[in-house]
Structure formats: structure tokens, C-alpha cells
Amino acid sequence: MSGTPKQDFGLFSNVLPSTRLRWKGRVEFVIEYLIRFAGLSTILIVGLIFYFLLREGTAAFLDIPLRQLFGNRWYPIEDFFGIWPLIVGSILVTIGAVIIALPLGLTTAIYLGEFAPQWQREILKPLIEVLAGIPSIVLGFLGWVALAPIIQQMGAPTGLTIFTGSLILAYMSLPTIISISEDALYAVPKGFRDGALAIGATQWQTTWRVILPAARSGLVIAVMLGIGRAIGETMAVMMVTGNAANIPVLGPDMIFQPVRTMTATIAAEMGEVAQGSLHYSVLFWIGIVLFVITFGINSLAGRLMGTQAGRRRKGQL
């Protein structure tokens, strides 16, 4: 019997002469090492971003009492660094954007995924990509020169309001919401669709009762990432929300009041502060708050995605 292994592994050895083989093996080793490094560097970068925010922003944290830091008066010239009005501003504009974008985005995704004939899909999808491609500054510019006057004519005291910002933001987050929801709908196994149709359900019944529930988690992710996108938007918001660092008075016309968001504050004021000053470091502190908020939202969305991704990861070596 030939059970005992022979020493001669020439049997499976490469056809290449051994020196060339060794050299080739080493090149491959280096390449694979670099690829791994590239992959892991993404973690490093997130860490570095947080580190540099902290580095410049800790002074604010150390020198200003926390209560004042989260106070409701933002008036840097007199050393009032309460960022609460800015947080409220960001939240209000974002909520407005979500209220507008959610129904529009999900419905459009449903239309694209389930109802649109092929030729419409071929027109609509690139158009939505175009929307994703329009720079935020261009939309902000349009909001500033075209949309704001219209809103003012509608009776608002100024055209630069929460509503203006929300409207622009909504359209900016639409591509995110639409494309991710559409993916989620697409990922619903064909068998569910077939099963429902084969019983005699109409297309709408199939969509509403089978496909949407099955795609639920993906749709939630879409909405979350849409929110993340909206809360971090800077230029457009800065141009159209009026930049008033006050907390709007609750009431029916609240949406027609101006606010100032966290992002806009950084963008508008960083250019005018001395490096190393307290104001400077507070602006970084706002950056930290933004980072933490978006990090939270995205990590949550990422976790939801992770549970979904298992299925998709079959295309691997």
C-alpha cells in the first residue's frame, strides 16, 4: 500500500523553474500585503479623523463649562458658546427634509422597482443619478436666488427659512433614499412575488402586502442614511436657512422662521477666527458633535446592513 507520504512534492509543484517561482511568490506576497493594508487603512482613517477633531477641539471642552457649551445662547463675540440653538436648527431642518423626502423617495423607489416599464426606468434612473450629481452649492444657489423669493412672496417674513432648507435638503437626500430602497426591493426573492401573483393578487396587493414587508429593514436603512446625508449637508443649508442662531418659537409658522445649523456655523465662521482661539476650538467641538451624531446613525445603519449583507457575500474567492 502506498499510504506513507513521500518526501517528493515535485508531484504538485509548479511548472516554473524554482527561482522564478520563488520570485513570483514573493511579488504576490507583497501585493497581497498591500491590498490588506489598503483595506484596513479605512479603519485607521476614521480614527485619524476623530483624533484630529479632538486635537483641535478639546480646548473648548476643557475651558468652557459643559452647561454653557450646551447652553442656548450662541454669541461668540461675547464668548457665549452655547451650541443648543445650532443643534435644534440642524434637527428641525433635517426633520422637515425627512418629512418631505420620505414619501417622495419611497414611492419613487416602489415605482421604479415594481411598476415602471423598462423604457421609463432607463430614463428615470440616470435622471436621479443626475440629481445626486448636482453640487450642493448649485442647489443652494438656486434656493438663494430663485426659491427664497418665491417663499417670501407666499407670505413668510423672509425667504430664508427652515422650510426652504428642508425642501432643498429633501431633494438632496432623495437619490440616497431612492437608490437604497430600490436595492432593498430588488433583493426581495422573486419567489415571493411569483407566489403572490400566482394566487391572483394584483400588482399593488403584491407590493403592499408581500414585497414592502419583506424589504422593510432595507427601507429603514435607506431612511437612516438619508437622514445622515441631510444632517451633514452644509453649503445649501447655509445659503437658504437664514443663519439666525436662535431657537424658533414653537407654533404653526415655525417652519417659516430662519435658523442656523451646526454645519453652516462651522463653514461660515471658521474663516474669521484666529487659529488656536477658543472660538476656533469650539467650531471643532461642533465638528465632534456632528461626527458623533452621524457616526451613531451610520453605525446603526451599518449594523442593519451587516445582517443583510451575509446573503450577498457569495461572490468571493
Binding site: 500500500m1 512534492f9 508531484l11 504538485f12 509543484s13 511548472v15 474567492l317
Partner: protein, 255 residues
Amino acid sequence: MSITPAKIAIQDVYFTYGDGAEALRDISLDIYEKEIFVLFGPSRSGKTTLLRLLNRLSDLFEDATVRGTILFDGQDIFDYRVNVAGLRRRISMVFAVPTPLPGSIRDNLTYGLRMAGIRNERVLRERVERSLQQAALWNEVKDRLDKSAFALSGGQQQRLCLARSLALEPDVIVLDNPTSGLDPLSTESVEESLQDLKQRYTIIIVPHSVQQGSRIADRAAFLLDGELIEVGKATQIFVEPQDQRTEDYITGRFG
């Protein structure tokens, strides 16, 4: 009793996927040189897994665990010193669906050789012609070797894949349901090629159906739920199987 040493000896092999599903349990069987060995059984009985173990394509399954030994010409293929690429050139595989690589017919045939570092044009040309002739494809494609491999019909593509394996001059050819995507006529031509190839190669095949298995096999093994139920000469296993389950399957009680 046969005293011929086995070409491939599978000894007490267990295979468990990363998710804990046990695909193979205690498989032991010998495959001899220059025979057509048929592995059959219902879907998910472990046939494909076993095939992929032979040339260690099973390495692709993440976190899967293998226990047991597979000896190829007496050498353990799971030894850490084994050159896996080299092993795969010796035990070459043809898949269920015709899988030409993007590129010309010639590119397909020489791919494995080029990856092995063979650049000599003359050698490559010779291998292309010889392997195409062995797969009974030479006459059909000799004038369009530089055309896309995808322009061939399904049956031709599958014979091209066979030729691509033959170009490596392997010892063993492993075929995983090679006629599943083919129409009946192409199926016949592939089956005919196999009979010729038996003269030179050891052939291990998962057939498309029990009927196909019985048409081509010298010896055969029946797998069910990852276990080896029965192995033996085709004349015996397809005609008067020893095990009731084999008989049930062959006579179509299930599957």
C-alpha cells in the same frame, strides 16, 4: 480483490461547512486509473462537495473544516507543503455550466498554461491543437481560434471547457454534471468524448441523471445526505443494488 493501487484514495473524509452543516460523513472510497467513476445521488447529497475536495477547490468555502485523508498517487493533498495550483493542474475540473473565460478560444485553452509560466509559443500551439482534437472540437473551431469563446454553441462551449482542462495534460478529469445546461444532442457528443478520453485519463463524473450515470460508468458510488451508501461496479450498482435506498433512488422513488 483488486491489487491495483488507487489513483485517488479517499479515507474517512468528513466535511463541515462554516455554518456547521455537515456535507460529508465518513466517506472512504478508491478511484482507479483510467476508469469512469460516477458519483450520483439526490441534490445536496454531497457529490459536488466531494468533487471539489479532490482538487481543493473546497478551500474556497470559508471556515469549512475537512477531516480525513485524500491520497492522490499516494500523497496527501491536504499536506501543508502541497502546491495547490499544481494539484489543480493535475486534477482538472469541468463545471456544470459551460464556463468559457472572456476572451478568444485560444486564450481559454492556453490560460492555465500561461498562468503556470509557460510562454513558449510552439508548446502552446501544440497543446491547443491536441486538446481540441481530444475533445472532438478541432474541426469545428480550427479556423476561428481567435474568435470569442462565447460565440460557440452551448455544446461546443462545454467541449471547449473540456479541452481547456485537457490542455493542462492532467492525470484526472473531474466533471460536475457537465451536461446540465446542454440540449440532448450536445449531451450525446460530450458523452461520446468521455468514452474516448477514458483511454488516457481517470475520469470522475457527477452525472445529470441516473440514466446518464448508468450509460457511462465503469464504477459508481451512491451518496445520500453526505453518506456513502454504496460503491461498486456499474453493472452491479445500477442493475441490482445491494442497498434498499440505492434501489429506491434508481427506481425513482424519490429525487
